[in-house]
Amino acid sequence: MTGDESIERNKQVVEAFVNDVAIAKRLDRLDDLVAVDYLQHNPHAGQGREGVREYFAGFHRAREKDLDPSGTVEVHLIGEGDLVVRHEIRVNGLHIDIWRVRGGMLQEHWDAWRSAPGYDPPAGS
């Protein structure tokens, strides 16, 4: 696989995770998309694939409104090497995720949020 092909593949894994797991809440897709020892740097989520499962099954629902896709203005996916950045411009703020992707699975995750002026950060952001 060329460098460009693997970046495209990595972006597809990220998009599948966002669409299937984060938005559609299809937790059955986790086994295909997230490494069992997923390294999570968001302190509000647990470690590993199971941490992701718990996050989207329960806690995450508290901030669903704040991160609902209807609030998305623009998304840029920027990929190089084994890192993919998801830069999401929203009406209520800016949400940046960075994933390390290897072997078609998400391995590691960082994220940060900037509220738009006048908005509070979502709980757990």
Partner: protein, 152 residues
């Protein structure tokens, strides 16, 4: 987008982006140049007051800024970095707390991913015509930590 002084380019000679008339670069070369432009820009921004006169070599006059603490355009940058350089070290990012930096470049974007002891700082730059044209940033403080000035 406040930083400490630990961002000097290794070579020591700070150059601006690709000028007119240069031979077309391969895509990987172009992305490396974009990354160097961002690194050189940040070195100047966090260097000294006299160096701020060079900001226009790296950033567009009509630079679009999405950090609400910083004004628009080149003038907004100059005002902000002049202010940052005047702060005592306790109110600025401590360069010794920087753990790891990744630059991720694709298309017209360069993302700077800075992992620190005192938080996570992500800067997104969009480049146009060999200059930095637009900027977004977000910061995650460590659990229980406070936001550093300029990163609110």
């Amino acid at each position: 987008m406040a930083f400490g002084a630990g961002l000097r380019p290794a070579g020591g000679f700070v150059t601006a982006g690709v000028g007119a008339g240069e031979a077309a670069a391969s895509e990987p070369e172009r992305l490396e140049r974009n990354k160097r432009l961002v690194e050189d820009f940040l070195a100047v921004a966090h260097g000294d007051l006299a160096g701020l006169d060079r900001l226009g070599e790296f950033a567009a006059a009509d630079y679009i800024q999405h950090n609400p603490n910083i004004g628009q355009g080149l003038e907004g940058l100059r005002t902000f970095f002049t202010h940052i350089l005047s702060l005592p070290p306790s109110e600025r990012l401590d360069p010794s707390k920087e753990l790891e930096v990744h630059l991720i470049a694709e298309g017209d974007f360069v993302v700077r991913h800075e992992i620190r002891e005192d938080g996570l700082l992500i800067n997104v730059f969009r480049l146009e015509d060999g200059l930095v044209k637009e900027h977004w940033d977000a910061f995650r403080p460590p659990p229980g930590g406070t936001i550093i000035h300029g990163l609110e």
